[in-house]
Amino acid sequence: MSPLWVAIVAVTLANAAIKAAGPILAGGRELPPRVNAVIALLTPALLTALVVTETFGGDGHLVLDERALGVGVAAVAVALRAPVLLAVVLAALVTALARLLG
């Protein structure tokens, strides 16, 4: 098997196992309140980390570029109670424009 196919099979199996693990381990029974409290805080923690890494993450370092501008515009839009879809489209537009002009 070529390295590419080894990678495809391995990543597919690992991915399925990771996705199955949480539901098997944590489902089907009442969890202690403290564990539930941790799980509830996973959402904001994960979302924040994804925003930081996908907005400022470069090739092994933090970068401030057009992405920050676009995401910033989305933040303002959401703060002004714009629908999420509008905010997301604005982010892409502003980023594309900034790259075009930059």
Partner: protein, 239 residues
């Protein structure tokens, strides 16, 4: 884009209201992301072509794995001449976030362990985020529905990208790479509005951890480590 509909949260409530509305609402909510993922998939297919992966491998990869982050990571590592184990490790690290996500969704899935494991396969970051309701609850049908169009678009986009050679740079030129962070930020702001002090504190710690780790840790690790901020939940009542 949507306000939480009825909260089909805890399982007892969930089984009571099992219509198809939840799935359909999820499909509708997933459509804009399917559009974006279709475009990203085209660029993945084009990238795979340019690396000499042939036609079958990238398409099989998309059908079986359906993970933009992991697939791009494998392409990046192998494309840069890296070893197969480095490629696998990068993909696994990136997708390790599905473990905490799966634990969060777990209480709201249905059936025994096998059924829950299968339903867990529909966890995708956008679907998971779309289906999250305040207080750590999840709308199971909404998540499954939202994943459906994204899966179709990801697979179809890969086929298009492999067959027709588009430019990989177009995704960035059109600013499509900020769609996901902007979307996650919008959902985060919703969480912060409805959450208490602990929610804000855990988000702040997660931001600091992720930012500090990006320069020194391999891709995927910052996001995973930032999940540690949720341990704040041990300190007191969650909001």
């Amino acid at each position: 884009m949507h306000r939480p509909l009825t909260i089909t949260g805890a399982r007892k409530i969930n089984t009571a209201g099992r219509g198809s509305e939840g799935y359909l609402a999820g499909v509708r909510a997933g459509l804009p992301f399917a559009l974006v993922e279709g475009l990203v998939a085209i660029s993945f297919g084009a990238l795979a072509s340019s690396l000499g992966w042939g036609v079958l491998a990238p398409i099989v990869f998309s059908v079986t794995t359906f993970s933009p982050a992991a697939q791009f990571a494998v392409a990046a590592v192998l494309g840069a001449g890296g070893g197969v184990f480095a490629a696998i490790a990068a993909a696994v690290l990136l997708n390790a976030r599905f473990l905490p996500m799966g634990m969060g969704v777990a209480p709201f899935l249905e059936g025994g362990p096998l059924r829950r494991a299968l339903e867990g396969q529909t966890i995708l970051t956008p679907s998971w985020a779309l289906a999250s309701r305040s207080g750590g609850r999840f709308d199971r049908a909404f998540m499954i529905g939202a994943t459906l169009p994204q899966y179709v678009a990801w697979t179809a986009g890969t086929v298009v990208g492999v067959l027709a050679d588009f430019g990989v740079g177009d995704v960035e030129r059109l600013g499509l790479d900020v769609i996901f962070p902007a979307f996650f930020l919008a959902l985060l702001m919703r969480e912060l509005r409805s959450g208490g002090k602990l929610t804000i504190a855990s988000a702040a710690i997660a931001a600091a951890l992720a930012g500090a780790l990006v320069p020194i840790a391999p891709p995927g690790v910052p996001v995973l480590a930032a999940c540690g901020a949720a341990l704040l939940g041990l300190k007191g009542r969650s909001s």
